[in-house]
Symmetry: C2
Subunit: 367 residues, 2 copies
């Protein structure tokens, strides 16, 4: 018996720039053409973006290869859509010099990023997020993925973008429910990392809901700083990055159990309250903190609890299927205070007993 060792050098360290502004969309196509050498630029967007005029806003009169996801939304975030995109790129004879441009919300970014990660073993991608949830969260950090028939993001890759361009002006066309739901991710960032940011949201909630550019740019910048810092520390989610998952363990299960009738941000809002209830159960909070959180989520107008038609055993089953589950049960990210995640023995996610989660799900149904 002989053995031979193969050494794999580290992939090069990289960095990417997030550009934030209001009304910058019309200049971006020129920027992308100038900054990235790949000849095969390929836009992935969805039907909503086309009808809102943003694809035209990006391109001006220019022509470009593109794939329009139809229907828009979570229902299209499937491996089948990725297969269609890959085949569209092949039909256009695109090769390894393909460069994907994702224009749209979180769903578009997840699909475009994953398609880029697997096409011909990986091509580059930039994101132009156009929703509150994508600008706050999903466009930054390199997580991509699509759903299987059984669970969210069963397929995925860590695939960092080469740049992100945030035009808060694109939020103007977002429908009210989507707009408000996406702000939950901003609340989450404040909760896990920055109590002053939480205060800023509380103090400016009316301007935020009125979609005033100045406050939206400020929020975008704070979100990028917080998420960027976490991603830099732990780009491949070995440990600390999990704090970004606050509210998401219950949130993902609720989103799935609703048959995606709840928006991602709405489900995460319920998940944040669920995490708050776990904190109370475990003695990490006296309940006053949870009331502050309920109050701000209430102003956003997102649901604060589960309807009667949610079955606890289905939710528990979905929680077991969580991507981060080990031995069929995930750990939970919890807060020790606003702006501070509970960390014990260097672990940023805590063991929570099944019975505690069951009690919390019952309470969520009563609220």
């Amino acid at each position: 018996m002989k053995s031979h060792k193969v050494k794999i050098p580290a992939r090069k360290a990289g960095k990417y720039e997030i550009t934030i502004g209001s009304g910058i969309l019309p200049s971006l196509w020129g920027t992308i053409q100038a900054d990235f050498r790949e000849s095969g630029k390929f836009i992935v967007t969805d039907a909503n973006l086309v009808s809102a005029g943003h694809l035209e806003g990006l391109l001006g009169g220019e022509k470009a290869l593109s794939y329009i996801i139809k229907p828009a939304g979570e229902v299209s975030k499937t491996i089948g859509t990725v297969v269609s995109i890959i085949e569209a790129m092949e039909k256009a004879y695109l090769g390894r010099d393909t460069f994907v441009v994702g224009l749209g919300g979180g769903t578009v970014g997840d699909i475009a990023g994953f398609a880029a990660s697997v096409f011909k073993r990986g091509v580059r991608v930039v994101h132009i997020p156009t929703t509150t949830v994508a600008q706050a969260d999903s466009a930054i950090g390199g997580k991509t993925g699509v759903d299987s028939s059984l669970s969210k993001n069963a397929f995925g890759a860590f695939w960092h973008p080469s740049a992100v361009y945030i035009d808060v002006g694109t939020l103007g066309t977002l429908d009210e429910r989507q707009y408000r739901a996406g702000l939950v991710e901003s609340v989450k960032h404040a909760l896990i990392a920055d109590s002053e940011y939480f205060g800023l949201i509380e103090a400016n909630i009316d301007a935020i809901l009125a979609r005033e550019s100045a406050i939206l740019e400020k929020i975008a910048e704070l979100n990028c700083r917080i998420k960027g810092r976490v991603v830099e520390t732990d780009p491949y989610e070995q440990n600390m990055r999990r704090i970004l998952n606050y509210g998401h363990t219950i949130g993902h299960a609720v989103e799935s159990a609703s048959g995606y009738k709840l928006l991602h941000g709405e489900a995460v809002g319920i998940g944040i309250i669920g995490a708050g209830l776990i904190e109370v159960e475990m003695g990490l909070s006296d309940g006053g903190r949870l009331e502050k959180i309920r109050k701000i989520l209430g102003k956003l107008g997102v649901p604060l609890g589960l309807g009667e038609d949610f079955a606890e055993n289905e939710l528990i089953d979905l929680i077991r299927r969580d991507k981060k589950a080990v031995n069929k049960w995930p750990k939970f990210v919890l807060l020790s205070e606003i702006g501070q995640v509970y960390c014990r023995d260097g672990q940023w996610a805590a063991d929570v007993e099944l019975s505690v989660v069951e009690r919390v799900l019952q309470k969520l149904k009563q609220s």
Copy 2:
């Protein structure tokens, strides 16, 4: 307009060990259980391996979660098979602590590796290659992929294994055609990197065809050294790694155009002769070298040319779709002598005019 930079640290450098022996299969399940901590071991194999007794050989009497690809072979190397594997892992409630064990030929390894690369954004994999082509080539180097309806490996990822275990004893059950076709990849390694190795194959061709363990272990070791060295230098195929693609540009097109009736190694054999004809056309060879190569491939009994039913325009179209194509035309890896790839201006792949390739395809049809 503001900007914010996110820095992505390099992924850690890694290494993996290739273990080579004869009759080691029955010990490997214990080795894997002892060496890798993940609880969710999941075997991906195919119907041929089961009927050859190798799944039982690996497991002894032990039980393990597994997915058996049916039918075996290139026809199952599709994104649909990957979807089935992912959903089987989900149904078993496997999470991020899944550890995939690929047992089989190149097709199994490509599928198992790609499934591991995308499941929950990536889990670890080890390969136990059981064919001449997989032991020589595909198990080493981290390339994974599956075909779309339009081309080979349209979906894929670079996903390095955590270990590779080569038992040359498993080659005993391989059918004669598969066995011989797979040896073409060993000839390719000799051609691109080691003229002494080419001499060793010439001198020992009878023992090789008789499947004698000692020479098979020697060949396995030389293949691993050559491929390992290239992969270490260029793990993500930025430049030099392309030399491994010798014979593959025409080979992939021929394989696809045959409707996968030609085995991968058989198609690569034709591609190697095609590359040799290009070398003659371009004045890189006087033809004597090509005759030596034809002679050894002839002893392997693989086809040395194209049948009349291959359409040149279809082959050209498929060559245009090559994953490495830039501006719809790939570069070609060529030899300057046996054991030495032609390199000019630091480039390991050369520009070849369309008309040259067209002439070479005509000659391949006449041979």
